[in-house]
């Protein structure tokens, strides 16, 4: 048991060290990795909802709302301060998550998925149509903000964004794992398996789901503002439903319901995407589609499940950690 847990921790540390060292060997990957990790945060949000058996096809709205919040604050404050931009993005996505969450947690499955989609389409239209405020389809430029008051050149700024994102990813991955192992997080699986019993324990299934939803919105928002600041641009395209679908795609690719899967999926996805876009310019979506098909057919546990099979170990082994045990049960289901 302890051995398996250690193997798991070791693998996580190795992955983090590898990613942290990558830009030192090949400079160009740091922006790619920053974007991938930022998307991974949004995917982590999707993973939380998957624990409750729910899928959102609208989480790009939080990703985008947060990015635009950062862009506006940057504009109003003449460039602004990095941490203020990030804080604004996070606050807006959490508030929006609460406002929309209160409504959507009344619904389940297809209705839940589609309501999220509907809300995201509303946001997309607003960003597109009110071009005098939002810049329309051109979006808003985000000037490079100061970092704790320091003006940085492009290269050091990109390093800051990369290591900051990586640090947040490590901290939040740990935090979300703890949350998922806590009664509140375990209640998500209870929402999935038996809402009646949950109510008859004296707990509201909606409240349990709402906590997960607001958290997932915050994670998506954080990802959105980090990615957009890194790219220096917020466009309506990031609120489009295709982007929401991408998050779900990555979640399945990585391994539905697992924290490690969110980031493994995001890094592999961005890698395949930029490689495929460069070498098969017009058919890269086809390559991605084929990859997803292969995953669903041959590795329903996603990348995490695949890694387990290849190494012959249960990376999420039967430990005392219930989040881990639940993962296992989930893989067994298929």
């Amino acid at each position: 048991m302890a051995g398996r847990l250690n193997a798991q921790a070791l693998l996580a540390v190795a992955a983090v060290v590898l990613i942290a060292a990558a830009p030192l060997m090949a400079q160009w990957v740091k922006v790619l990795l920053t974007i991938a990790l930022a998307k991974g945060l949004a995917v982590l949000g999707i993973m939380i909802l998957l624990r409750a058996g729910q899928v959102s096809f609208g989480h790009a709205m939080f990703y985008a709302a947060s990015a635009y919040a950062g862009a506006f604050v940057g504009r109003w404050t003449g460039g602004g301060e990095l941490f203020v931009l990030i804080g604004a993005g996070l606050a807006v996505s959490l508030a929006l998550g609460l406002a929309i969450g209160v409504f959507v947690v009344r619904y389940r499955y297809i209705f839940f998925a589609m309501l999220n989609l509907a809300f995201s389409m509303v946001l997309f239209s607003i960003l597109e149509k009110f071009f005098h405020v939002t810049g329309g389809s051109d979006g808003m430029r985000i000037a490079r903000p100061t970092v704790l008051g320091m003006e940085l050149e492009r290269a050091p700024f990109e390093y800051v964004m990369f290591y900051l994102t990586l640090g947040l990813v490590v901290g939040l991955a740990w935090g979300v794992r703890r949350y998922l192992a806590s009664p509140l997080g375990q209640a998500l699986a209870a929402v999935k398996s038996n809402e009646t019993r949950l109510e008859y324990l004296g707990m509201s299934a909606r409240h349990a789901l709402l906590v997960g939803y607001v958290l997932s919105a915050g994670l998506a928002g954080l990802g959105g503002v980090l990615a957009s600041i890194t790219q220096g641009l917020a466009t309506p395209e990031i609120a489009y439903w295709v982007r929401s679908g991408e998050f779900v795609f990555i979640a399945i690719l990585g391994g539905a319901g697992t924290v490690a899967g969110a980031f493994a999926g995001a890094v592999v996805y961005e890698g395949v995407r930029s490689y495929a876009a460069a070498y098969f310019a017009d058919i890269w979506q086809m390559v991605l589609g084929a990859v997803l098909l292969a995953i669903i057919l041959f590795a329903p546990g996603g990348l995490v499940g695949l890694a387990e099979r290849l190494t012959g170990r249960r990376l999420r082994g039967g430990s005392a950690d219930p989040a881990v045990a639940a993962d296992q049960a989930r893989v067994g289901e298929r």
Partner: protein, 247 residues
């Protein structure tokens, strides 16, 4: 006379043409173990649904410890101290037996700290002891999904007990259980009820179980309470023997 723990006054509900309750007045006295018997489809489960707010009566009132709970939700009523075990066990299918109980304890104790692990809650020892008490200690780490019906039933009852209710409502606790095990389960239950001083209502089809474990029996037939009294008296009533027991 002291006030009943649970009072129902003139409860009415019908589903289409089926009258499940028409003018039901049933009181549950603190400390008693009340059995409800009646033919299939008489409305016994519906009565438990009405008492716990799962469905609302079209007329009438439910009072628990003096407070009107007619319009409250199952969640609110559970928090007031009424726990329920179901005719068809209601478990968290993705969790183990112990985790099912720990979730109940977490809700009971309101442990909402997101950094507190479910697996290591302070109530863990208490829940393991409860599992031992109901004779399911060896099942703690089993996923509930793989359990046979009788064991699932037991876990469902244990979840209700874990909430430490004042009033426990049990819907056919021994159905789906091998007859040899019936008395074993009921012995365990009777022990737990006595120890924790829980008042209980149980719906039951097995008359031997009723005779042995109930302190009072109420007969439910076509939406009404037709008889109520000590088991020996009610179970030997010719009408009850004909209409309910089928002798």
């Amino acid at each position: 006379m002291s006030q009943p723990l649970l009072e129902t006054r003139d409860l009415q509900i019908q589903f289409g043409g089926v009258v499940a309750a028409s003018g039901v007045n049933l009181d549950v006295i603190e400390g008693e173990t009340l059995a409800i018997i009646g033919p299939n489809g008489a409305g016994k489960t519906t009565f438990l649904n009405l008492c716990t707010g799962y469905i609302k009566p079209s007329a009438g009132r439910v009072t628990f410890r003096g407070a009107d709970i007619t319009a409250r939700s199952p969640r609110a009523i559970t928090r007031l101290g009424i726990a329920r075990a179901f005719q068809i066990p209601q478990l968290f299918a993705e969790h183990t037996v112990l985790e099912n109980l720990l979730l109940a304890a977490a809700v009971r104790d309101r442990v909402w700290n997101p950094f507190r692990r479910l697996a290591t809650l302070p109530a863990r020892g208490e829940m393991l002891a409860l599992l031992d008490l109901v004779g399911a200690g060896d099942l703690a780490d089993q996923p509930v999904e793989v359990l046979p019906e009788g064991r699932r039933k037991l876990v469902d009852i244990a979840i209700a007990l874990a909430l430490k209710p004042r009033l426990l409502l049990l819907d056919e606790p021994t159905s789906g259980v091998a007859s040899a095990e019936k008395f074993q389960i009921m012995d365990i239950l009777a022990n737990a009820l006595a120890r924790e001083r829980v008042t209980a209502v149980f719906v039951e089809h097995d008359m031997e179980v009723v005779r042995r474990y109930a302190s009072r029996v109420a007969v439910w037939n076509t939406g009404k309470i037709t008889h109520s009294g000590p088991p020996d008296e009610v179970l030997s009533d010719p009408d009850v023997r004909r209409d309910v027991i089928g002798l």
